[in-house]
């Protein structure tokens, strides 16, 4: 009964979305306030209905209702409750429902927090989000219904993929989707601005917190996914340039460009059409990612051809949404033409460079991701494009970007950079030399790329920190705490995120050039030395988990400092899917991780272990966390809150029909 109610709620949600997509547009065209105001109520009802559908599916999982096909294929009565709920998004149908839920919640948030914006703009933006919702609701209802019944019901479920039974996997998809789908807000606002032909500083200021929030979630989501792969896949990798990973990285790249170009649009009124293009592209790439991941085209072009129903549907949506919005852009963006000047060395110059580099990076990753698919589809043979390619083409762009970042923060709007300014960057240059020298001295064998990368990180970190110091010290007699209090969240957010980039680069450079990986066979009692660490296998024992059986190895590790630690990796076999899983044992530290995972059994008393010492690996995720926190700080800036508050009081004055067209 409950699943049917969920299904019904989804159908009603689609009907509501139809109203949301049409009525406010009519209202905006005719200037009728009541019709436009309908959007807010529709957004609320829509979000409630989608949430009800989602809750119904969650209930089916919680109650082990194996008469629901989706539950039977992705859960099991022995599955712990937390994973049973996470299993809601453990498969195709449920993750699409999660996508939709995120969209509905973002739509509701726009409706609640945007009352100060011109009503026409909000009405149109909500209508656009309604249209996207219709697309996904029809996709779910017609091709991927999670509420389909299984008759007769299964006695027990086929269990959740063991890879997904991990705390990281509970959080990763919601956070990632929150970011992915969050770009729909910038998209909707951009389309709305294109429709009305106006895009001003107020628009940009409105768009910024939404974009930053989506970007911060996406950053966190990607980092969680990477950390999950590191702990759960058992080979100690953290990024593989897998098409699925690239699918989330592409909107991140354009989203990063968008955040920066929005700053120019707000402060200088420039790059308007460019900003609109980036907003559309970010969401388009989110949709492309959904298509790549959900259509099966990645596993094989042929898998897609044998069951093309879902793929063709998403491809249709993609063409409709992307094509439609690009057409609109081509038709209307001319109105935003504001050539303006870009002085060499000015803030807008650096931001323009930033955008150019980020777009080159996006195009490159996109090319590498789609090339094998295109080649295969054209019958030109199968190739693999993997880490060696992406590392080679991405590293130069990424490092150039990080280097320019150091200049960017020191520049001013509309002013060319003078020699005095360059001189104040001396500490940054010193930071670069010190970091590079330290790295070159410590790491054997010598690595050019690693040294360069760490030098760039040192440059960026010092440029950032020195700027903050100078800002707080100032020239007057005020105490630094007063300056600290007066400085907005977006300033510190920016600096924190930039510092995060430096931290991230250090992590990547150290892991890439100085990690040690060995596969060592060990018998009970035997020891092996790897990179100054001694690993001695003490015992091997059988362990019974709630839904798996495991072999657990206990390994005594003698650290170079003389301290002893114990690591206990496991090899699990999950009963239902009989899939072997590697549970790595990791001793995490600020400066290095010791990582041990079990390879294969040699005999009852001997296994091959993969032993790794990874210097600075946690800096990779630490850098991402700093970036995401920077985003949150910027999001929390008083400037935007002020907008919200004055916005609500100013509502009557904003409710004036649009005469822009």
């Amino acid at each position: 009964m409950i699943p049917e109610l969920g299904h019904l709620a989804l159908i009603l949600a689609m009907a509501t979305a139809l109203g949301l997509a049409v009525v406010p547009l009519i209202g905006a065209a005719r200037g009728q306030t009541t019709l436009m105001h309908f959007a807010h109520r529709a957004a609320l009802v829509h979000a409630t209905l989608v949430f009800a559908a989602f809750a119904a599916l969650g209930y089916a999982f919680w109650a082990n209702d194996f008469s629901v096909k989706y539950v039977a294929s992705h859960s099991n009565s022995a599955l712990p409750v937390a994973y049973r709920l996470a299993a809601v998004w453990g498969g195709h149908e449920g993750s699409m429902l999660l996508w939709l839920l995120m969209l509905a919640l973002w739509t509701l948030a726009v409706s609640v927090f945007s009352r100060g914006l011109p009503q026409v703009l909000v009405a149109r933006a909500l209508a656009v989000m309604g249209m996207v919702a219709i697309c996904f609701e029809s996709f779910i209802l017609f091709t991927s219904n999670p509420f389909s019944r299984l008759i007769p019901a299964a006695a027990d479920g086929r269990d959740l993929n063991p890879l997904l039974q991990d705390p990281g996997m509970v959080l990763h998809p919601p956070m990632l989707y929150m970011g992915y789908v969050g770009f729909s807000v910038a998209f909707a606002l951009a389309v709305s601005a294109l429709l009305s032909g106006r895009m001003d500083a107020a628009w940009a200021r409105w768009c910024r917190p939404w974009t930053i929030a989506a970007w911060a979630s996406l950053t966190g989501g990607i980092a969680l996914g990477s950390w999950w792969a590191y702990t759960e896949l058992g080979w100690g990798g953290w990024w593989f340039w897998d098409p699925v990973e690239n699918a989330s990285f592409l909107p991140w790249l354009t989203g990063t460009a968008l955040i920066h170009s929005l700053a120019v649009t707000e402060k200088r009124g420039q790059f308007k059409s460019w900003t609109a293009l980036l907003a559309i592209s970010s969401f388009a790439l989110s949709l492309l990612g959904t298509f790549l991941v959900r259509s099966g085209v990645l596993t094989s072009v042929h898998a897609f051809a044998t069951d093309p129903k879902r793929g063709v549907f998403i491809l249709g949506l993609l063409v409709l949404v992307v094509g439609g919005s690009f057409l609109l852009f081509a038709w209307r963006a001319g109105r935003f033409a504001a050539p303006g000047t870009v002085a060499k060395g000015s803030r807008e110059f650096w931001l323009l460079t930033n955008n150019a580099l980020l777009c080159v990076a996006t195009a490159t990753v996109l090319l590498g991701t789609l090339y094998p698919l295109a080649l295969d589809a054209l019958g030109q043979g199968k190739i693999s494009v993997g880490p060696p390619y992406f590392d080679a083409v991405f590293a130069p762009v990424g490092l150039a970007l990080a280097m320019l970042l150091g200049f960017g923060a020191w520049s001013r709007w509309g002013e060319a950079m003078d020699v005095a300014k360059l001189r104040s960057l001396a500490p940054a240059a010193a930071g670069a030399i010190a970091a590079g020298a330290l790295f070159a001295g410590a790491v054997r064998p010598f690595s050019w790329l690693g040294t360069l990368a760490v030098a760039v990180a040192g440059w960026l970190a010092m440029a950032t920190l020195w700027h903050v110091v100078r800002r707080l010290r100032g020239s007057g007699s005020e105490r630094w705490t007063t300056r600290l209090a007066r400085q907005g969240g977006s300033y510190f957010g920016m600096q924190l995120a930039h510092l995060g980039v430096a931290v991230f680069i250090v992590g990547v450079a150290c892991v890439k050039s100085a990690e040690t990986t060995r596969d060592v066979p060990l018998q009970i009692g035997q020891a092996a030395d790897v990179a100054g660490y001694q690993f001695r296998l003490r015992t091997l024992e059988d362990v019974q988990g709630p839904n798996y059986q495991a072999v657990r190895a206990t390994i005594d590790v003698a650290l170079p400092s003389g301290t002893q630690i114990v690591l206990a990796p496991e090899k699990r076999v999950y009963r239902v899917q009989t899939m072997p899983m590697t549970e790595a044992a990791i001793d995490s530290g600020l400066l290095r991780d010791v990582y041990v995972s079990m390879g294969e059994a040699i005999s009852q008393s001997a296994w091959i272990f993969r032993v790794q010492v990874k210097p600075f690996v946690n800096w990779i995720w630490g850098g991402c966390v700093l970036m995401a926190l920077g985003g949150l700080l910027a999001f929390a800036d008083r400037r935007y809150r002020l907008v919200f508050r004055t916005g609500i009081s100013a509502q009557p004055s904003a409710a004036v029909p649009a005469a822009a067209e």
Partner: protein
Amino acid sequence: MASLRVAAANYRLLGSALLFATAAFMVAPAQAQLRAAQEQSVHSNPRVMELAEQLRCLVCQNQTIAESNAALAVDFKNQIAQMIAAGKSDDEIMRFMVDRYGDFVLYRPPVKASTYLLWGGPMLFALLGAWVLLRRVRASSHAGLRSGEAAGNADDEARAEALLAGKEPHR
């Protein structure tokens, strides 16, 4: 490597010939030790891992040979180690793999007619980006002073402030 395998076989022969009863007992650990020795020699050579990191495990879902523990990946690693022991160069080993399994096995796609665009693309993008950037900046310096635009912007921002403060209706 080959000699180790032969040794293992001999050992087994010897064992079964001498003592039927203890053979089953003896063989397993002895074999294991030998195999362990073999594995150790395979994986202690960093060149094996370096090469294995560039090869795709054909039975896995997008993993390198180095990362995978699948039987096929282990075989590949052993094969690479044997070829290194036989004095083959990296190029020869890679060519052997491609001849057998096609370009698909390489994570670094070969440069040939069908991949010119893949390898040239990033460079083209970079040139395009630089061109757009230069054009934009040069157009600005031709436009000369930051006169009209700056004024227009000040205007724009002032209106934005007013609008956000709720003083002026949106036009």
